[in-house]
Every structure is written in structure tokens, then in C-alpha cells.
């Protein structure tokens, strides 16, 4: 078994290879604006480091967000196209779950990433493997009560200390954690979700107000 894991839902462009026992190579670069340029060279580098070619990959794992859309789609489109070209399954993993797994905590906590526009993507966890709420997007002040008294990880928590006074590392998701989590779940016979993006927001779109628009038949 060889899993290629990647995530582009946070400022990190992160790639890892997992051979069924553990991660054998990985790369993480933080550059929120260059996911498109950085991802494929990073995959190429990680494969070279492991002395393998993409043909050896038996499954692809992709972070499905939530995260800023433009970057998120780079990873998902790449993973899905690899699946098509190689004829291997592509599994989705919630990016927040990857961060939670890397946090390695046994008690309740919160994961929050930066959703921009003064909001965070977040979810609550009973422990590092168990998410107890659906991922959501909110203003930190609006959820302060729900997360009060809980430790928190992720850039979104570190960014808003008023709402998350107990915020700490890890800041961004790593594909190594994503790969380990996916490998663990697959080994346990769990079904992973399809690699579809968690947008959580509707697309911004202004309907022109001046004129009533009728779609031609």
C-alpha cells in the first residue's frame, strides 16, 4: 500500500507518502498565495525522496477543507485527476480532522482555521480522533461561549486569542497527519468521504438590481 496525501485548505501546501506502516516522506511549505505553483513540484520532490514514482501510489488522500476555496480546489482537482489517470481511489478527509489528529489530545478541544473575513472554520472534538460537531464557519465572538474553557489548535484559534485564550500549535494541517489518520481509518475498514470540497459558504454573487432578468427559453 502506498498513500499519497495532500492538503491545500490552509496556507500550507503539504504532501506526504504513507506506505501502510508510517509516513516515508513529506513536505510542507507555507505560502497562502502559491498553492497552484507549489503543489506539483512538492509531490515530485516527495516521490523522489522516497525513490518512487507516482505509478506506485495505490490511493490518494486529499484534505477537503473547509478552507479558502481557490487554494482548496488546487489540491482536490489534483487528487481527483491523479485518481482518473492512475485508476486508484481518491479519499477525502476533513482538514480540521487532520489538524485534530496532529494535536494528539485525549480530552475535549477545538480546532479553528482562518476563514478570512474575520471568521474561522471550526469544529469541536472529544479527543484527537473524534469530532463531535459538523465543521462550521463563524465569527470568533459569536462562538466564544461554545468554545469557552477548551484548548484550541489551528491558525484560526491563534489569530483570535479573545475567543480562544488557550490556543496552541499545530498552526496548519500537515499531510503527514492526514495520511496517518486516513491509513488508520482505512485499516479499520472505515469508508472515507468522497473528495468533495466543504465550502460552507455560498458563492458571493451580486444580482444586478436595476433590471428584472428573465432567462430565455
Amino acid at each position: 500500500m502506498l498513500l499519497l496525501a495532500l492538503d491545500t485548505a490552509t496556507p500550507a501546501v503539504t504532501v506526504a507518502l504513507h506506505d501502510g506502516r508510517d509516513v516515508i516522506a513529506s513536505s510542507s511549505q507555507v505560502d497562502a498565495r502559491r498553492h497552484g505553483e507549489l503543489l506539483l513540484p512538492a509531490i515530485d520532490r516527495v516521490l523522489a525522496e522516497a525513490g518512487l514514482s507516482l505509478d506506485a501510489v495505490t490511493g490518494v488522500v486529499a484534505g477537503i477543507g473547509p478552507g479558502p476555496y481557490t487554494g482548496l480546489r488546487v489540491g482536490l482537482m489534483t487528487a481527483e485527476t491523479f485518481g482518473l489517470a492512475l485508476g486508484v481511489p481518491v479519499h477525502g478527509v476533513c482538514t480540521l480532522d487532520g489538524l485534530a489528529y496532529a494535536a494528539d489530545l485525549q480530552d475535549p478541544f477545538v480546532v479553528a482555521t482562518d476563514a478570512r473575513r474575520k471568521e474561522v472554520y471550526w469544529a469541536r472534538y472529544a479527543d484527537s480522533r473524534t469530532r463531535v460537531t459538523d465543521p462550521a464557519v463563524d465569527r470568533p465572538a459569536d462562538i466564544a461561549e461554545q468554545v469557552a474553557g477548551l484548548p484550541a489548535v489551528g491558525a484560526g484559534a491563534l489569530l483570535y486569542p479573545d475567543a480562544f485564550p488557550q490556543a496552541h500549535e499545530p498552526e496548519h494541517v500537515s499531510a503527514a497527519a492526514l495520511a496517518r489518520l486516513a491509513a488508520e481509518r482505512l485499516a479499520a475498514g472505515e469508508e472515507l468521504p468522497a473528495p468533495r470540497p466543504l465550502y460552507l459558504r455560498r458563492p458571493d454573487a451580486q444580482v444586478p438590481k436595476n433590471y428584472k432578468v428573465v432567462t430565455p427559453k
Binding site: 497552484g36 506539483l40 481557490t70 482537482m77 491523479f82 489517470a85 478570512r116 458563492p203 454573487a205 428573465v214
Partner: protein
């Protein structure tokens, strides 16, 4: 004649606006042209919404690649290269196509060619009328562009002669259709109404046609405003708006300027071929008037069938095949989507990104 089997087999991916296009060509022969459009999702907004387009590209990409391969009856392993629109276009939308093309090329072990959307619009004519004459004058008109380009070699030399200084011609069609409550997109519906109207009924202005105006540039903003004001004045006076006459007179003003300037550029440059591409090339009056004026001037007009004029993957594959045939350098794996890729760069060869990318980030909120 060379054996067509020797010609490059190339798959092209186009996502610069609202069409997810995947085309496959062998040299100048079209094998597949699969397109998934998100136009219906934009209709209620009256224009293309970038985020809606990007989401639709991600959904449609893999099924559209599959469909193109089936249509062409070829195996991905037999491809000689993967071409993709690197720009210009909507940044987020382009990035979906570029990501798919890179992953596909890398996984298949094929060279990647990031190509220019505008040069692709010109090159697509090879699939219809054979090798492009060199030089060729090209008039590209759509919702996104209105350009007059001169090319002596579509893989390396595309010169801008003129362009719109404000709105694209297609945008003017969309706006006037909206003012007339005819819906989006405006091109086909204006064309339809105009057929039953009088093009001389109302004398709408011809932008940038004065003696001191730039010879090959276009302007449609003034026309747009003039038509909207004329309609509003009618409505304010409680009179019925003669939709057919307005459509015909507006359309005539647009195609009159487009064809007049294109023919003039051909004459000035001594070019005896004119190609017209882009979505507005489907306009029946533009085709008719261009034919008439080209014949009178001794110019051969080449207009591909409407489906090849609108955005599609076949045009990208056509230019990619030409890149392979002429041994142009492939792109590197860090190829970026460039929303304002200059028309003078028909493709993006590896490690020669020497123009400024900062504008791309400042113009549009790329990662929101």
C-alpha cells in the same frame, strides 16, 4: 501528404470562464470537443460569477475528460501532450484547469503546455479550414475580449493591433439584452430579435471611428449607454420600446465598427486572410457583413463553426498540437494560472516567467 498518425495527439483543457472544455486533436484534425457549461447557473446574476464558475469547473472536469476520451476513441496513454489555458481569464477558474492539466500530464508522463487563450481562439480555425495562413489577421470578439491580432506564427508571434478600451463587444450584447429584459447571455437573443428589425431604424453611435481616433481600437461603452438611454427615454414617455428595431440597430452599430476596422487592418498590413473567433463570431449579422466587406476588399474570410468559436478545449488542444509540431518548449510543473497573460505570449515555456505577477493578486481577491 504525411500520415495523420504521425501528427501530435493532444488533449486540451479550457477553464478561463464559464465553460469546462476538454478537446482532443490529432494535428489539425478534431477528434473530440466535450464542453460542460455553467451558463445556466450564471443566468440569474446577469453575468458570469467567478466563484460559481470555479465550483462548476471542479465538478465537471473529470467527467468531461472522460467524455472527450470516449468521443475521440483514444487512450490517454497514447497522448503526446496535455495543453491547458494558462491565461488570460478568471484567476480562480483558470487555476482549476491548470491544476487538472498538471496532474494529468504528470501522472501520464506527458509534456505539459500552458497556452494563451487568445492564441487558441485563432488556432482553432486549423481544425476547420486547415493550416493557418501566415500571416493571419484575427478579430476575436466575445463577452471577455474584443481584439484585433496579427499573427505570423501562432506558436511564437501574435501582435496586438487593437483592442477594446472599455467593454468587450459581448458584454455590450449582455447589457442591452438585460435592459430589454431578454435575459443572459445576450448575444443569441439579440441576434434573433434583430433579424426581424430594421438596422437603420435608430442611428446609434459608432465608437472610436473619428479621424483622430485610434485606427484599430474599439469602444462599446458609449454605445451601450446611448442605447440604454434611448430605451429609458421611450419608457419614460410611456411609449412601447420597439425591441426588434433596437436590437437590429444596436447590433448593426457593433458589427459595422468591428468589420470596418478589421478590414482596414488587413488592407494596411497587406494581409489577405481574416479569421473571426470568439462567441460573438456566432452572430449572423457579423458573419454576413464581414463576408460582404472581405469580398469587396479581396480578403479571404475564415470563420470556424459556432461551437469552435465559443470557449472550448479543442482550441487549446489545437494550439498545443502546434506547439508539439513546432518543437516549442514544454511548461514546467510550477506553471501558474495568469489572469492577465499578455497576448504576445502564445505559450508559457518552462522557467521563463519574467513578467509581473503582482497585478494578478491585486486585481482580484484570488484566495478568498
Amino acid at each position: 501528404m504525411t500520415d495523420s498518425r504521425d501528427e501530435p495527439l493532444v488533449l486540451g483543457i479550457e477553464t478561463s470562464c464559464d465553460e469546462t472544455g476538454v478537446g482532443i486533436v490529432r494535428g489539425t484534425t478534431l477528434l473530440a470537443d466535450a464542453v460542460a457549461s455553467s451558463v445556466d447557473e450564471h443566468a440569474r446574476f446577469g453575468g458570469v460569477v467567478p466563484e460559481v464558475a470555479s465550483r462548476a469547473h471542479l465538478e465537471a472536469m473529470v467527467p468531461t475528460i472522460d467524455r472527450a476520451l470516449k468521443e475521440a476513441g483514444v487512450s490517454a496513454r497514447d497522448l503526446d501532450g496535455i495543453a491547458v489555458t494558462a491565461g488570460p481569464g478568471l484567476a480562480g477558474a483558470l487555476l482549476v484547469g491548470v491544476s487538472a492539466a498538471k496532474a494529468y500530464a504528470y501522472a501520464l508522463g506527458k509534456p505539459l503546455y500552458g497556452v494563451n487563450h487568445l492564441a487558441s481562439h485563432i488556432c482553432v480555425d486549423q481544425l476547420e479550414h486547415g493550416a493557418l495562413p501566415e500571416p493571419t489577421m484575427a478579430l476575436l470578439v466575445s463577452g471577455g475580449h474584443s481584439s484585433l491580432l496579427l499573427s505570423t506564427d501562432i506558436t511564437s508571434d501574435v501582435r496586438p493591433m487593437g483592442a477594446t478600451i472599455d467593454d468587450a463587444a459581448g458584454e455590450a450584447f449582455d447589457k442591452i439584452a438585460r435592459v430589454l429584459n431578454l435575459g443572459f447571455p445576450g448575444g443569441p437573443v439579440i441576434d434573433r430579435y434583430a433579424r426581424e428589425g430594421d438596422p437603420d431604424a435608430i442611428a446609434f453611435p459608432r465608437g472610436l471611428t473619428g479621424p483622430r481616433d485610434p485606427a484599430y481600437d474599439f469602444s462599446f461603452s458609449g454605445l451601450k449607454t446611448a442605447v440604454a438611454r434611448w430605451i429609458e427615454a421611450k419608457r419614460a414617455a410611456g411609449e412601447e420600446v420597439p425591441v426588434r428595431d433596437v436590437a437590429a440597430s444596436f447590433q448593426e452599430a457593433v458589427v459595422d465598427v468591428l468589420t470596418r476596422k478589421a478590414v482596414r487592418a488587413c488592407k494596411d498590413e497587406g494581409v489577405d486572410h481574416l479569421m473571426i473567433g470568439g462567441g460573438v463570431a456566432a452572430n449572423s449579422r457579423l458573419r454576413a457583413l464581414a463576408q460582404e466587406r472581405c469580398e469587396a476588399a479581396g480578403i479571404r474570410l475564415r470563420v470556424p463553426r459556432p461551437k469552435l468559436c465559443t470557449d472550448n478545449g479543442a482550441m487549446v488542444a489545437a494550439l498545443g498540437a502546434e506547439m508539439v509540431a513546432r518543437n516549442r518548449a514544454a511548461s514546467s510543473w510550477d506553471l501558474s494560472a495568469d489572469s492577465s497573460l499578455p497576448v504576445t505570449e502564445p505559450h508559457v515555456p518552462g522557467h521563463q516567467h519574467d513578467h509581473d505577477h503582482v497585478h494578478e493578486i491585486s486585481k482580484e481577491n484570488l484566495y478568498s
